[in-house]
Amino acid sequence: MTTLAQPPKLGLPATIIGVAVGIILTAIGVVFGFLQGLSVQLIILAAIATLAAFVWGWRFVLGQFVSDAGSVPEGEISEGRKVWLQFRPAIYGLIAILALFLVLSLTIEGFFNVWNVVSLLIILTIIVLTRTLGRHFQENRSAFIGIMVLAGLFSIGSMNIEGFASANNIKSMLLFAAFLGIASVGQTLVALLGGLDLSIPFIIGAANVGLLYLIGLGVPPWLAALIVLAIGTLLGVINGFLSYKLQGQALIVTLGTGFAISGGVQIITSIGTAYGGNVFGTVPDWLSNLAAMNGSTFGLPVPPVICIWALIVIVLIVGMRLTVYGRYLYALGVNRTSAKRVMISEITYWVMMYAISGFFAALTGGLLLGWSGGGFIGVGDQYLFLTLAAVVVGGTSLLGGQGGYGFTVIGVLVLQVLSSFLIGIGLDFEWQQFIFGLLILPMVALYARSPHIRTQI
């Protein structure tokens, strides 16, 4: 019976490496402890905790991934042991987090207050819920996990940060989420086909500058906006056509067209002016109203861009579930050969999705102009990897066929709430980026692991 509680077996080298690294970490901790002049009891406690936590992490986190086929002999298992087996990782996780909390509250002055305890409880609840209920959501596990993380982050944030849950803050979070969400529409659709669109940030920047340039030339703003959207769509068509012709090179093709677009638009806008790349002009009121924080929709104090985003979300989710176009899109993403056999034109969809991507990128650029009030080519730069991150965190597979825009919305909200939370506790942009980076990996690892190679033969 004791063998049942054994952790998954790791190979000898892996074990040795793990123990060695653990000991090194512990030694570092002990040395630092002595250097800081802490009391010996604390150091010993911390050392034991570090070693135990690390060895646990090594064996279980790695072990889970190494041997999926840990066969458990059936029969004669008592009920308690069954529960124990089923939730073993979660229980270890709970213990580890508790230990971490203990160590933190012993070492950091003033860490042990009521809010942190409540936050801890929330985290624990989320983990328990994810482990217990998550099993019933095999289909949409990523969405479930995303919503849990969102709820947890939001509740922790609203407890720890003054004004986090105020109407203003929520409005501003939704505003930024709307920009990112609209920019990620194209990325999601293209990812569903198995492609990538890295030209989105460049088109955003180009649309941003180009719209203001056209307005500055004296073109009526509505016409200028239409022209910019049309050009964005056209660029998307070119992208789609090129990346269809050059199969498997979508990443680099769109990057190339992106470079060319941003360079070309800047050349056009700076011809005949003394300011290289800087465009001046006045943004019309309706455009500012569309995207500004204090904008209003039909009298309601909500920036219209949020409503636009909500509309897009509904149309896309319903459309992709119910219409033929949506279903064909998934069919192509899952297996393009079989989709071809049922007379789905691959190039049409490929070009169409990239065209939509270009359109929404141009739209984002125009809306960002309304928000900032000045043209700037680099306005889209941060969206280069953020759109990808939103798609990936939401749970749309970059290989195509799995996911949807609803997932991306969750991803966008998670990223936005997390970033507001990090700003709220006083972390700078670089720390946010660092934490984003570290967060993406475990979130994706929870639901988007590819099968082992031996199962693919």
Binding site: L255, G256, D428, E430
Partner: protein
């Protein structure tokens, strides 16, 4: 995927050609010589010792970053390591900070540190890819975000001082700088690596991982190896980058990601895996440098960087489209030799260079000399003569004699390079046979090197000793 597989099949039919019989090099080679000719015609001072020297200094970090990217891209599964730029930045800023704190001072320690950190990061990367089985591009995305945030934390704004011994590396006044040595050593190391079975396994895995797995290739080990090599290249790239800017910069390194991906693809590698090499990567990165250089000679003023962007993008897309016609070429020309093509175009380009740098006819040289904007610290006339000096047969005057004396070491060095290259090539091609030949070539090569050293030691750059030395070696 399918064309990569076809390419591998093509290569296995001709094992002697190895990775070098690659028709995808056609585009980068053509582009390289086109750009080189244009660059030399626009600004002949590129072909001076200082011009080439500074070109090497500026281009080497990019070339090495492309190598680093290439090593992991070959391993397949769409491993485009987006985090390569932030990794270079990370090594750069930690190096500067550790040096500033007085911990890293020894050159050997600095090299070891850079390479070790790069390899360690890539090792972790490969472990995650193997055991967590997340798509590599997601791992690299997360690495990109995490590392570029980290860099700004470590060094909030550009600053710091590079180690003392690197201080004059970034000047670029002569061709044979330490940076050049790093570049050559890195390239040769990869070329030697391509002769191993490990490399064959790597390419097989990159083209078709399932086939590799079923035929018993240890795919985990191979993947880890590819990443560790990539990390070592990244470490070298970081060192040359540090030498170039001779300080620390948290955000500059990050820009290398997109440029290196561009250079890699321009060099004919496949992002799907299984195809790529140092030759192509070198050409791709050099092409990017030459594009910037050529455009800089046109002096666009305020829109310079936009024009550069436009050119990058369009050339990238066009050269990708050109690869579509390669199957047609392959159908008609079965034995395409990139090396031969390279040499053929190289001769033409050499003619252009000689014409541009030495033609005294004023009609042949329109104005552009005074438009040189890139190179400042040049004294072109004396150096130009230095190149034609050894070729003259007319009775030399005193100044010519002096020039010839100066040219001596250059000629010696060039001959040495050729001799070394030939010997390395011979040694490498013989290395898989179980005869004594490799040992013999190694011994002979060592003797030649020793002889050259002695010659150099006797009279410091004496022209009389350098000429006979050359004839001896070429035997």
């Amino acid at each position: 995927m399918s064309d990569a597989a076809a390419n591998v099949g093509l290569d296995t039919a001709r094992p002697a050609q190895g990775g070098r019989a690659n028709p995808f090099l056609l585009v980068p080679i053509t582009l390289f010589f086109l750009l080189l000719g244009l660059a030399v015609l626009r600004s002949p001072s590129l072909m001076s010792s200082a011009g080439i020297g500074s070109a090497i200094i500026v281009a080497t970090p990019l070339i090495l970053a492309t190598y680093a990217l290439m090593a992991s891209v070959i391993s397949g599964r769409g491993t485009v390591d987006l985090s390569i730029g932030p990794l270079i930045g990370f090594i750069n800023v930690t190096l500067i900070q550790l040096h500033g704190a007085g911990i890293l001072t020894n050159p050997i320690a600095i090299f070891a540190y850079a390479i070790l950190i790069g390899a360690l990061y890539q090792f972790l990367f490969s472990l995650i890819v193997i055991y967590v089985r997340v798509q590599p591009i997601i791992v690299s995305l997360s690495g990109y975000l995490a590392l570029s945030g980290m860099n700004l934390v470590i060094l909030p704004r550009p600053g710091g001082v590079a180690p003392q011994f690197m201080a004059d590396w970034g000047l670029g006044t002569s061709i044979f700088s330490p940076v050049f040595a790093i570049l050559v050593i890195a390239s040769i190391a990869w070329l030697l690596f391509t002769r191993t079975a490990f490399y064959t396994h790597l390419r097989l895995m990159g083209s078709d991982e399932r086939a590799a797995y079923t035929s018993g290739v240890p795919i985990y080990v191979v993947r880890i190896g590819a990443h560790v090599i990539s990390g070592a290249f990244a470490g070298l790239a970081a060192i040359t980058f540090t030498a170039l800017i001779s300080s620390g910069d948290p955000s500059q390194g990050t820009t290398y990601t997109l440029i290196a991906v561009t250079a890699l693809v321009l060099g004919g590698a496949s992002l799907a895996g299984g195809r790529g090499g140092v030759f192509g990567s070198f050409l791709g990165a050099s092409n990017l440098y030459l594009i910037t250089f050529v455009l800089a000679t046109f002096n666009f003023g305020a829109v310079q960087s936009f024009v550069t962007n436009l050119a990058y993008g369009s050339i990238l897309v066009i050269s990708l489209l050109l690869t579509l016609i390669i199957p047609f070429i392959q159908r008609h020309i079965h034995n395409f030799s990139p090396l031969l093509y390279f040499i053929g175009l190289g001769v033409v380009a050499m003619g252009v260079i000689l014409h541009a740098t030495n033609d005294r006819d004023p009609r042949a040289r329109p104005a552009p000399v005074d438009e040189i904007v890139v190179m400042q610290s040049l004294s072109p006339i004396a150096l130009e003569k230095l190149y034609i000096g050894p070729l003259e047969v007319a009775a030399p005057t005193a100044t010519d004699e002096e020039l010839r004396q100066q040219a001596g070491p250059l000629v010696l060095a060039a001959l040495l390079l050729i001799v070394i290259a030939v010997f390395v090539r011979v040694a490498v091609s013989q290395s898989d046979r179980r005869t004594i030949a490799p040992a013999v070539t190694v011994v002979v090569a060592a003797l030649v090197l020793f002889g050259a050293y002695l010659m150099r030691a006797q009279g410091p750059f004496a022209p009389n000793s350098s000429e006979p030395a050359a004839t001896e070696e070429s035997r």
